[in-house]
Symmetry: none
Subunit: 419 residues, 2 copies
């Protein structure tokens, strides 16, 4: 049993309500915004539920959340129509009555009148409030929010449209929750690692991070890169940063230069910055990655400072014609080989007159592999005025992943040279 931390952060759950949020092309974005705001006042989001206009499931979701968490926020379902069920179902889940609030009704009527319209009958539904709740004004719509303190849990029922939900949260809910949470701060840090798989990384660093409950550590394979996410909480940002520093320094001892980013930067941002700062210029020759390195680097504003030219030489003829790769090399070693990779890097560097030439040649699949040269075999090479080096890689994954990993490894080779 670990020792208890008096400053355990408050936990929150978010429930997004509305059948439209269960369509294949819609996602709940309110919860992202709310999570950022909650984290900022030291409240951790532990679970999110997205539920349609479904009485029984919504009731259960609210009841479970209230039992498990100290903060529960719902968004949506406060409108005037039949399928807006949040008020009714939340009252049932909490075992409280729903009452007509005359003041709210007058306010809704006045709002319609201010637009020169009469309140439609069904909008009176929006004046029903849960017994014992506080009504939260909505300057941007007709649906007021509700705030309820129920058995040690704070519950906020907020409208779904972001321009109504956000100001209501910031004006009314955030200050009340900040007070409850007692100023605990949650700070995250993301370290990115190159040249290492998820399992290998975990084996190396588990002995470090398993010693600490604060920060919490998770390792993830984020599409294409391995990330270490550290989340610390403390009374102040400075204290939380100090907790992060302590672990992150130990991780750095173990991982060294395999960590390429300490603040979530991408590999191309890191390499681009180093090139720009050192006033180096770069040219790139790509075969199996088909322009991916060029594309990644030039996606960054200001890439023209260092990126001079890229060649995608998909055919042997193109390697010879544009990169000056000797036909004899292609004949003797094949296009996917160390000598050809090196010749490509030197060739593109000479052509463009740059400080560095970077190259990739490989077999991305699904076809084109053989026993001797299987899918995933990739050579990368880097040339400068004094020196050319290469790496041989055997990359797992499908075509897209092999291409990405090859481009990542090539950029990483350049990064190591620039350190």
């Amino acid at each position: 049993m670990p020792p208890t931390f008096p400053q355990q952060p408050l936990t929150a759950e978010i429930i997004a309500i509305g059948s439209e949020l269960l369509a294949p092309d819609r996602s709940d974005t309110n919860s992202l915004w709310l999570t950022e705001k909650l984290n900022g006042i030291g409240i951790e989001v532990k679970l999110k539920t997205i539920v349609g206009d479904d009485d029984a499931r919504l009731e259960e979701a609210i009841r479970d959340a209230v039992r498990r968490s100290r903060v529960v926020i719902t968004t949506g379902g406060l409108g005037p129509t039949e399928d807006d069920i949040t008020r009714k179902v939340a009252a049932r889940a909490l075992g409280r009555r729903l009452l007509l609030d005359e003041k709210v009704l007058d306010w809704i009527k006045a709002r319609f009148e201010s637009f020169g319209r009469k309140m439609p009958e069904r909008n009176s539904r929006q004046a029903m409030v849960i017994d014992g709740s506080e009504v939260l004004d909505n300057p941007n719509g007709t649906a007021p929010g509700l705030f309820i303190e129920h058995e040690n849990t704070a519950i906020a029922l907020l409208p779904g449209p972001p321009r109504e939900m956000r100001p209501m949260f910031e004006s009314f809910v955030q200050p009340r929750l900040a007070e409850k949470s007692g100023s605990l701060r949650v700070v995250r840090r993301v370290l990115r690692v190159a040249g290492m798989g998820e399992s290998a990384l975990d084996e190396l660093i588990a002995p470090v991070y398993l010693q600490y409950e604060n920060p919490q550590t998770s390792i993830l394979f984020n599409q294409t890169e391995v990330e270490i996410q550290l989340t610390a909480n403390s009374r102040t940002d400075a204290e939380a940063e100090a907790l992060l520093d302590r672990v992150s320094e130990q991780l750095e001892e173990r991982l060294g230069k395999a960590i390429f980013s300490f603040a979530g930067e991408t590999m191309e941002e890191v390499v681009g910055l180093k090139l720009a700062v050192g006033r180096y210029s770069l040219a790139v020759a790509e075969s199996c990655t088909g322009g991916l390195i060029a594309q990644r680097l030039t996606a960054l504003p200001g890439a023209s400072k260092y990126f001079i030219e890229g060649v995608v030489s998909y055919s042997n003829e193109s390697k010879t014609r544009t990169l000056g790769v000797e036909p004899i090399l292609l004949l003797e070693h094949g296009a996917v080989s160390a000598p050809v990779a090196e010749a490509m890097a030197e060739g593109v560097r000479t052509r463009a007159g740059t400080d560095f030439g970077l190259s990739i040649t490989g077999i991305a699949g699904p076809d084109g592999g053989s026993e001797e040269k299987p899918v995933g075999l990739v050579y990368i090479a880097l040339a400068d005025d004094a020196h050319t080096e290469h790496r041989k890689l055997n990359l797992p994954g499908d075509r897209n992943l092999i291409r990405w990993r090859a481009s990542q490894a090539a950029l990483d080779l350049l990064r190591h040279r620039l350190i």
Copy 2:
């Protein structure tokens, strides 16, 4: 045992697992894809839960979902590390044992060996399976999935990375669920449109689609392309397809060749196929798109049939040296101009000796614009042996969107030539 409703759709719940999915900058996209697939076989998603690496909450989420719904799908938490808890917690929620499956263990070991590596000890965790479950192969990763029939509910535990989850769902889970769900068929069709904004498109086709309730039509700006999504339901696929045909024929009458795809193919797939079928060859010269066209085309298997060479000429010198653009053109008209775009297309075609040469030059921003040549000004050009043509574009959006739209417009120019 409830009475069975022959035409009542099956209900599903989706549980996305992983603390990283509760961060303010990450959302669960697997459930969107899964929802589309489930809807396609007549299964409705009634609730989604996103839960971190939190034993108690996850156990409750699984137990509740299994009680309420006939189909439960979890994604994530099947990795090899300590915080991958899905197998363990699901076993507990279902009251089943967790057993080591030697066959799975051998398969994982073999997979590591095929990359010339030894399986790290912790990956043996991934060979633990729930008693009575069926193991689902994962050709794209080490985490096998599990499929369990438990008290009238089908439960699938799938890995989190989309490239592992998707094929596993399609190969193993979808056919089993389709069988359970029986009769009502939901069929979707996606038409993709180039060279037209969302509003302009809607104005043109609303008179058609507003006449029909089945199929339902929605128009979306899907990141970078405008799509028309038609969803029909009927007793049989053939009936649903007939309903789709009726509307889609009328849309085609209005939109003509602006529709580039009738089955959700991407622009590069459409163009690549036309090049391959016609046995044409292509070379590409890119400035502001920095390799994006080359990258998009070569992302497709078999691109080497038609894609010969690409040049990313970011500097003026590179345009002259590698593409043979006369310096006088650059001086008189500037790098972003129709004459330079045409010279680039002709130059790359001559260099590579291809049937077509395609080029882009423009200002992607955020810097580099002027009053005369603002950010978003792009010229694209296409050359064949008889003829060179160009288009001038003023593209809205940020750097990424301008680059994408430019690459899309250039590919579309080539598509029209190939029709």
